[in-house]
């Protein structure tokens, strides 16, 4: 088991966690989108590698979807949107880099402790994949809570979904239903997000959610 197969899968999943960390402290939207594209690219490689070692050709579909949609189409479209909105030079930071990174390290440690402990009987590959996947999911969540800008929240959400895809492909033999559904939901989610961004733009001239917060809760 512990051959080259395992090492490469491990390397790719670990890289994904590292890129999640890179995303955490990007305060420029362009840079953030580029890093996200990288995130999706590594995910595509990782899924393709899983398809190869599990001998599960249907996973290649998921890999291609990740590559085309997440690594190319979505970053390009989001690039255009932020240029259109004129927010590509904006710098945003809600919480300092230090605390966010520390929280991220804490979350990774947490996911390792939880997942490695409960999956002692599972095969090591699936086990570590799951632990890394949970770390990516939690880092995505962390990003969503520390950002105020709608675009970066969406990027946070998409990297969270990347973690889910990693988990689903790591679970050996998981039926195709799920892969399709994941790809499908990302697609829909993206459409919804696109519509939202445009609608928000129509009304506010900003996608900074702090502007939206003025209208929150009870009025008057």
């Amino acid at each position: 088991m512990r051959g080259l197969d395992f090492d490469i899968a491990h390397l790719l999943a670990g890289t994904l966690v590292l890129i999640s960390f890179l995303q955490l402290y990007q305060d420029r939207l362009y840079a953030l989108l580029n890093i996200f594209a990288l995130h999706a690219l590594v995910l595509a490689l990782s899924v393709a590698w899983q398809a190869f070692i599990q001998d599960a050709p249907h996973l290649y579909v998921t890999a291609v979807l990740a590559l085309v949609f997440k690594a190319i189409v979505i970053p390009v479209v989001l690039h255009r949107i932020i240029v259109k909105l004129g927010i590509h030079r904006e710098i945003e930071q809600v919480v300092g880099v230090g605390p966010v990174m520390l929280a991220g390290i804490g979350l990774v440690a947490l996911s390792m402790v939880v997942m490695l402990r409960v999956t002692q009987d599972a095969d090591p590959l699936a086990r570590e994949d799951l632990a890394f996947a949970l770390a990516v999911v939690l880092l995505g969540l962390l990003m969503m809570v520390t950002r105020r800008n709608a675009v970066s929240q969406v990027v946070g959400f998409m990297s969270l979904e990347n973690g889910l895809v990693l988990a689903a492909t790591g679970a050996k033999g998981m039926p195709l239903v799920v892969e399709i559904s994941i790809a499908f939901s990302i697609l829909i989610a993206f459409i919804v997000i696109g519509i939202f961004l445009f609608r928000i733009r129509e009304r506010f001239d900003t996608v900074d959610l702090q502007a939206l917060d003025r209208f929150r809760g009870e009025r008057r």
């Binding site: 009304r203 506010f204 917060d213 209208f215 929150r216």
Partner: protein, 479 residues
């Protein structure tokens, strides 16, 4: 070809959605919407007559047929209410014909998604259906495109997606737990197979999976502290959607949770899911009860009341056992009927007054007696006053809890009393006193409102033996 009720429950809404998206003209589409939901309801009832065998994707059993009939019934009555409500929104220009077309298509998509989630035998399909239901409601919450509606929809979308994502992680973990016992592939996601083999699953993995599922689907149930999306989504969307959200979608998410609770109950080494659900239920109840006091927006107030009642229902199912489960099922049914009835009344009231601010409404019993008393009756019912149905179910929850753990029952009763106070305080302002705000007659159809209230009243006074026996058998199934 024989009539396949299960296929009908799924395909009627799906075709109706496509058709309604294409057809122009408000009058035809509103009627078609009613017709489609009625046909779905009739097919759902016919599921009792001929039950199909469970397949790898779809399943009909005692538990979900109860949910399906309730969902399709409230879906039908809400579509009747929606016809007059949306007509009014068109008249005063809050919605354009294009948006109404979109609205009707989305309404049917939502019915499809909820029915699919209920009949799914595959936990992956169930997840997809709940995600679809979330997305359609997000679209509908944002349909007015005001500042508040957009913010509510965005908040709902983000929190809902996070919940859904956590639930998917939980679903993957269930698959991981099932794989060694059931084998790779489709079988390890089929619920009927899982429940047979769940005793052989790895308990630790099952526990972690359940925690994720509880957090994920719990967000969709609106349990505190994961409820933040719920009041905004209820307050800012069209009122028929508030009725469907409160009355149905929260139930569907809870149903998903119950399915996984049943899995854990089979495995003796897994943690007992009861205490977790009891805690979340009580926290939601007490929190929401206090939140009722500071509300100025009428729909927001009833949204908090929904959190309160979902808390009670989750609590009852968490306690488990035949009586508490029975009470939970009954309470869920009663809450769906009553809360949607209240939203029907509130929708018309808000249209007459042109606002949702409680301070701008007053003396409803004088200006619009039918609507005013309908609302009063609904609030009395939701507060749990005898002899209405919710009194029965709350009484059962409280008495069965007192028998088993008095300390929990005390918290429960405290929460209920606080909630009653909050509701009546506001009801007084709205229903009695000097008439405030614009006065107008409403050409609303009162049929959905009063048919729901009549059912709730009937359940409180006399429940047919067959219905009691049915609920008892389902309660037994829930363990």
């Amino acid at each position: 070809m024989r009539f396949d009720a299960l296929a009908a429950v799924l395909l009627i809404p799906l075709f109706a959605a496509a058709l309604l998206a294409l057809l122009p003209g408000y009058r035809i589409t509103a009627r078609l919407n009613v017709l489609a939901t009625l046909a779905t309801f009739v097919s759902a009832v016919s599921l009792f007559a001929a039950r199909p065998q469970p397949g790898p994707y779809l399943l009909v059993d005692d538990l979900n047929s109860t949910f399906i009939v309730l969902t399709t019934f409230v879906g039908f009555t809400t579509s009747v209410f929606s016809a007059s409500y949306i007509g009014h929104e068109l008249e005063n220009g809050k919605l354009t014909p294009t948006f109404v077309r979109f609205y009707h298509a989305m309404y049917q998509m939502l019915m499809f998604a909820m029915n699919l989630a209920l009949v799914a035998n595959n936990i992956g399909v169930m997840w997809v259906a709940i995600e679809l239901a979330t997305l359609t409601t997000v679209m509908m919450v944002g349909i007015y495109r005001t500042h508040e509606a957009l913010e509510a929809a965005w908040k709902y979308f983000i929190l809902g997606s996070v919940g859904i994502a956590l639930a998917l992680f939980g679903t993957i973990l269930i698959y991981m737990a099932a794989r060694p016992a059931v084998g790779e592939g489709l079988d390890a996601m089929v619920w009927t197979t899982l429940i047979k083999r769940a005793d052989a699953f790895d308990p630790a993995l099952l526990n972690v999976a359940f925690v994720f599922l509880l957090l994920g689907y719990g967000t969709k149930v609106g349990l505190a502290p994961l409820h933040a999306w719920l009041p905004d989504a209820h307050a800012e969307g069209p009122t028929p959607i508030s009725a469907v959200l409160s009355g149905l979608l929260l139930n569907v998410a809870l149903y998903a949770l119950l399915r996984f609770k049943m899995l854990l109950a089979v495995n003796p080494a897994a943690l007992a899911p009861g205490p977790l659900m009891v805690t979340l239920g009580l926290v939601s109840l007490v929190f929401a009860a206090f939140m009722l006091y500071r509300r100025r927006d009428i729909k927001r107030m009833f949204a908090y009341s929904s959190i309160e009642h979902m808390g009670i229902i989750t609590f009852a199912f968490g306690m488990g056992g035949p009586i508490a489960n029975f009470a939970g099922l009954l309470h869920m049914t009663m809450h769906s009927l009553t809360k949607s009835a209240i939203f029907f009344a509130v929708g018309h009231v808000a249209q007459i007054k042109g606002t949702q601010r409680i301070a701008d409404m007053g003396g409803l019993t004088e200006t619009n007696p039918v609507l005013g008393w309908g609302l009063i009756l609904g609030v009395i019912a939701i507060a749990g006053m005898p002899p209405l149905g919710i009194f029965m179910s709350e009484f059962l929850v409280v008495s069965s809890t007192f028998a088993r753990s008095p300390a929990l029952a005390l918290i429960l009763v405290f929460g209920l009393l606080v909630g009653i106070g909050g509701l009546f305080l506001r009801l007084n302002t709205i229903a009695f006193g000097e008439p405030r705000g614009p006065v107008a007659t409403s050409n609303a159809s009162y049929l959905p409102l009063f048919s729901h209230l009549a059912l709730v009243l009937m359940a409180g006074i006399y429940m047919p033996q067959a219905l009691v026996a049915w609920f008892q058998s389902v309660a037994k199934l829930l363990g």
